[in-house]
């Protein structure tokens, strides 16, 4: 028997025929089909028990309640908490993408120390030990006042702990990042004589007059404002939006009044003129509960007639008169101000002009009006015992000049910080702590801010993320993120009740981070003496529980504590000025410079256009940068690849030869940038609008390097009345590139 070719072929044919009678071909076909359905590298999330943990979102001051969906020990989704007084189930896009911050690529995973320009991992003991040694040395040398802390809020136990630490250590330099709260607080202080927060009874108002406030672009508590807007639609309330650009707020309003930017205060006084002239003001309130009306009305009547105001503001006379009448005749009118999201304090005189409108229509502390909400008062810690070093340090003036002769009313002047540091011969700050804020990105004039930060010998960042400030820091002591920690959040964003939210850990810390409150307590203990004595708590959690007292259980169970029975004091009791009345003018107000519209920085000859920033819910411009989901929602008329699009009107574009999507060079007295152009009918000719919140250099690749940071093109403009930053724009030039 020999195996020839034919036998072999026969064998093969037999094999093939046999194979057809086995499951092999059919099974392999099926299996390979299944294999192609799911590539091995596509992640397959595990099933598990679903649980929900209620907490409070602290990503913005809005104070929304959240409920976090977990699968076993994974955070899968964050949703709005139904029944919460702020957001009742709704949630903004940033809150919804919180899980991306938790698991995000740019978390700081362990304490870091910069050595020769590079970060090196160190242990918590080393980090706290090093910082304590540095602080002790500085204090021994009598330099305790050269320590400063920047934080986003001055209310709640964490800011209070920091403040207490600074005080007992011997430094007055606790600095709050700026916002319209600065101007509102000052307005209430000067006109009502109270230290209070503004609360807006927006649910009940039937006529909203907004002087450029981005009511639907992130102003106040964003979700609360969206809900209010829906209730205005249902109740057929009127919303009038005064701003130069057709923003989302303007688009949703019943009437959009495009105004020459920066002249909003003049328009407010123009409206006051009509209301006074036509005797439309609430006489009961003005005659019985105010003082200085006669003195105040004279310049208003003389200097702000509709024809004059029309020239200043570019709003025609009939519109002004009409608007004044409608506002005054509405049953529950409310005037609000603070541009955009309210990140810039703005002109104090403008706030006072707008607030005077509220007084004229008598809506103060009334339904649908503006309420004064007392600051949270639950923090009642034992009196501080201080040594001489501390007392001496505290007597040195604040580094930002707040409270000094030049700036008697301001409490914090963050905007002056760079200037003070950069102009000093030796660094006025030796140690700067940065908590819950990102000043290197958010402060106007990025270049000079960076310069100032470089001059500070030791910058300590407590950020959970590698943001711009953390990148510049010498030491990073990463805080847990809000989903991993306890924190009380007194809501300061315009809710009309005293409200405290509680953020609580919904998941174990993912990395080697530590609660900043605990770090402060450990630092104090390391420094010993009176400083250690001022912090008798063994941990932040213990401190919080003790501080909140009987509210603790409610907060744990419900997630928030609300004083529902709160009603603002009646007119007879509301004002704590010297006269006990609402003061249109008083000695302090008289001492302020007269009202005039603030001019933007730069010369018209070389910068013929005016650049204004605009805010959008889809772009976060403060401490938290856009997570991937949020940057994904940004329209391609705002950001295209890495280029930001600036908005100009067709009339502005034509003479410059600019076309939709074309490149242009945008320059201001502060800097220049390459941008693309979006031709937009909804913007006043002569203006260039740029979205705020882009141009990050830090955070992940999903955000860094996209667009331009508005703060690199604009600088602060000091409000002559308050010293706060009142810049609303800057002169600019746009040329084809």
């Amino acid at each position: 028997m020999k195996i020839d070719r034919r036998s072999f072929l026969s064998f093969v044919i037999g094999g093939a025929a046999g194979t057809a009678f086995t499951p092999l071909p059919w099974k392999l076909t099926d299996d390979s089909a299944i294999w192609t359905q799911m590539w091995p590298w596509t992640p397959v999330p595990d099933y598990g028990e679903v649980s929900y943990v209620n907490s409070t979102c602290t990503l913005c001051p809005g104070g929304c309640g959240i409920t976090v969906r977990k699968i076993e020990e994974r955070v899968v989704k964050i949703e709005g908490l139904s029944g919460h007084p702020v957001n009742d189930g709704g949630l903004c896009l940033l809150g919804l993408s919180g899980a991306q911050l938790l698991y995000g690529p740019r978390r700081v995973k362990t304490p870091l120390k910069k050595v020769n320009g590079k970060f090196r991992r160190i242990s918590w003991d080393e980090a706290i030990g090093e910082l304590a040694t540095k602080l002790a040395d500085l204090r021994a040398k009598g330099g305790s006042h050269k320590v400063a802390f920047i934080a986003a809020s001055d209310q709640g136990t964490l800011p209070e702990l920091i403040n207490r630490f600074l005080t007992v250590y011997g430094s007055p330099n606790f600095i709050r990042t700026p916002s319209i709260l600065d101007s509102y607080e000052l307005t209430l202080d000067l006109m009502h004589g109270v230290q209070a927060l503004p609360g807006f009874d927006i649910e009940n108002t039937d006529f909203v007059l907004s002087f450029g406030s981005g009511l639907l672009d992130g102003w106040g508590s964003p979700v609360h404002m969206f809900r209010a807007n829906s209730s205005w639609r249902d109740r057929k309330s009127t919303v009038v939006q005064i701003e130069p650009r057709l923003s989302n707020t303007a688009a949703k309003s019943d009437k959009w009044i495009p105004i020459k930017p920066g002249t909003e205060g003049a328009l407010a006084l123009g409206l006051a003129h009509v209301i006074i002239k036509e005797s439309l003001y609430k006489k009961d309130f003005v005659h019985n509960y105010t003082i200085g009306f006669e003195k105040w009305r004279r310049p208003v009547v003389d200097g702000f007639s509709p024809d004059i105001v029309a020239k200043i503001t570019d709003v025609d006379q009939t519109t002004i008169t009409d608007l004044a009448r409608k506002f005054a005749r509405a049953s529950k009118p409310l005037a609000v101000c603070g541009r955009g999201r309210g990140t810039t304090p703005g002109s104090l005189k403008e706030f006072m002009a707008v607030h005077a409108l509220n007084a004229l229509v008598g809506n103060l502390n009334m339904a649908g009006g503006l309420w004064t909400i007392p600051d949270a008062d639950y923090i009642d810690w034992p009196e501080l015992e201080m040594d001489d070093t501390a007392s001496t340090g505290m007597q040195k003036g604040r580094i930002d000049g707040a409270g000094s002769q030049n700036y008697p009313h301001a409490r914090y002047l963050f905007n002056r910080l760079s200037e003070v540091i950069n102009s000093a011969s030796s660094p006025p700050i030796d140690v700067l702590g940065v908590v819950g804020s990102n000043p290197v990105y958010t402060a106007p004039d990025t270049l000079s801010t960076k310069e100032a930060f470089e001059k500070i010998p030791l910058v300590v960042s407590f950020s959970s993320y590698m943001d711009e400030t953390a990148e510049m820091a010498d030491l990073i002591l990463p805080n847990h993120i809000y989903l991993e920690r306890y924190e009380d959040v007194p809501v300061i964003s315009g809710i009309k009740y005293p409200l405290i939210g509680l953020a609580k850990p919904v998941i174990d810390p993912q990395f080697n981070t530590k609660h900043t409150g605990d770090v402060i307590i450990l630092l104090a203990q390391a420094l010993g003496g009176f400083i250690a004595n001022a912090f008798p708590w063994e941990s932040y959690e213990a401190c919080l529980e003790e501080t909140l007292g009987d509210k603790w259980e409610t907060l744990l169970q419900q997630g928030f504590w609300l004083n529902v029975s709160f009603s603002p004091p009646s007119w007879a009791k509301a004002f704590e000025t010297a006269s006990g009345k609402f003061e249109f003018v008083n000695d302090q107000i008289d001492a302020l410079p007269r009202f005039s519209s603030l001019k933007p920085e730069g010369k018209e000859a070389s910068f013929p256009l005016v650049l204004i920033p605009y805010d959008s819910m889809r772009l976060q411009r403060e401490f938290i940068g856009n997570p991937p989901f949020v940057i994904k929602t940004v329209e391609d008329t705002v950001l295209k690849a890495n280029d930001v699009l600036v908005e100009i009107s067709p009339d502005t574009a034509r003479p410059l030869g600019l076309k939709e999507g074309g490149y242009a060079e945008l320059s201001t007295p502060k800097g220049s940038a390459r941008v693309k152009v979006h031709i937009y009918d909804g913007i006043k000719p002569g203006l260039v609008a740029i979205p705020a919140g882009l141009g990050h250099t830090a955070y992940s690749k999903y955000l860094a390097g996209k667009g331009v940071n508005i703060n690199s093109l604009i600088g602060p403009v000091e409000d002559p009345a308050s010293g706060h930053d009142a810049a609303w724009g800057i002169r600019a030039k746009l040329s084809k590139a």
């Binding site: 359905q37 590539w39 590298w41 596509t42 992640p43 999330p45 099933y47 699968i71 994974r74 955070v75 989704k77 964050i78 949703e79 709005g80 957001n87 189930g89 709704g90 949630l91 903004c92 896009l93 919804l96 993408s97 899980a99 991306q100 938790l102 698991y103 995000g104 690529p105 639907l216 964003p222 979700v223 969206f226 809900r227 807007n229 829906s230 639609r233 057709l246 989302n248 688009a251 495009p258 993912q510 819910m617 889809r618 989901f629 949020v630 940057i631 994904k632 929602t633 329209e635 391609d636 008329t637 950001l639 295209k640 690849a641 890495n642 009339d651 009918d681 909804g682 006043k684 000719p685």
Partner: protein
């Protein structure tokens, strides 16, 4: 009436074929557009003197094909069970364009993201908010936002544009819920459905999804993670329906309350602009708002309401509300001589 450059909807004349079955009138309906009428054509006017759809679901009369195929589902324990028809109505006067619905959807449905998402043709988004403008110059210009999920077109007895063309049976219209499904493991990525969809709701995965640095921990097991090479789209959060039913079954109930099944976007919308529910249940808020006229292919009786490309006859189940006439008119492609605004 133009869609902002943030995106566009294709003209009504983009065609899709019928399924070829005798009862399918989709192909023939194409002829109704250019009837030369100066008046806004009434969507109810249909070919051959027959009102479309010829049969409606609610009155108990069912087309022959339904009688043949779906008799079973209608009967349960001897009791007539009505099919559900889930739909959505979005109040554009309340919508502020904030984008919460988009992110709620992404977080709920494991939607992937990439470094650059500014090329919107490549960007995977189930819910997309379009910006409409009235096209008028300053200061008369107006804008309006329009969130666009999948329309879950019923068309003619479930022959939705996309369902009709899918060669893989990867997308399907479910008569029990009125939801157009998309089965990713079944899809082989030919993208016929994307060409057929008049609303651009379908997106193709050109890239493998990548979750950086442990971010895959936030993936939900209730929605399949999609791989490169398949088409995906909004499912009306169908998994929420499944989970809600599980709970109901566990508690011994056969049916769901209205609030038990809500989509992620509906739940998240801070303005409460979205209402979701069963269009076949007269007690549901959506039915009371929309008041669908089943004689006219589900057209709304609410004068504030409109649907996108109504005249196409795709019979979408997503309705929009607006007081503004120009907004209502931007929902369809009218010749300049048809509408004067």
């Amino acid at each position: 009436m133009q869609f902002g450059s943030g995106g566009y909807l294709p003209p009504a004349h983009s065609t899709f074929g019928g399924c070829g079955l005798p009862h399918c009138q989709i192909a023939e309906k194409q002829k109704t557009y250019d009837n030369g009428s100066k008046k806004l054509p009434d969507p109810s006017i249909r070919l051959n003197g027959v009102n479309w759809p010829a049969k409606i679901e609610d009155d108990g009369a069912r087309s022959p094909i339904e009688n043949r195929q779906f008799k079973g589902v209608l009967m349960e324990k001897g009791k007539a069970k009505k099919n559900k028809k889930f739909g959505m109505v979005i109040d554009l006067d309340k919508c502020t364009g904030c984008g919460s619905c988009m992110v709620a959807c992404m977080a709920e449905n494991n939607v992937s993201f990439r470094e650059d998402e500014t090329d919107k043709l490549l960007s995977v988004t189930w819910m997309r908010v379009y910006k409409l403008t009235n096209g008028k110059p300053f200061p008369d210009s107006e804008i309006c936002y329009l969130p666009r999920p999948c329309m879950h077109c019923e068309a003619d007895h479930g022959h939705s544009p996309c369902v009709s063309v899918c060669p893989a049976t990867a997308t399907d219209y479910d008569m029990n819920t009125g939801i157009v499904s998309q089965i990713y493991t079944r899809c082989f990525g030919c993208r016929y459905c994307m060409a057929a969809c008049p609303y651009q709701v379908r997106v193709f995965n050109w890239y493998d999804p990548v979750w950086p640095d442990g971010m895959e921990k936030m993936l939900s097991p209730n929605v399949s993670v999609r791989m490169r090479g398949v088409v995906e789209k909004c499912s009306f959060c169908f998994h929420r329906y499944q989970l809600a039913k599980d709970k109901a079954y566990y508690e011994g109930r056969q049916d769901l309350e209205e609030d038990e099944y809500q989509t992620a976007c509906t739940q998240a919308c801070p303005a409460s602009a979205i209402t979701f529910g069963n269009l076949n249940d007269p007690d549901h808020a959506i039915t009371q708002i929309v008041r669908p006229d089943h004689q006219l292919g589900g057209r709304s009786k609410n004068p504030r309401a409109f649907r996108l490309l109504e005249r196409l006859g795709a019979n979408p189940k997503v309705y929009y509300l607006s007081n503004r006439e120009w907004v209502r008119h931007s929902g369809d492609n009218y010749r300049p001589d048809e509408v004067k605004l």
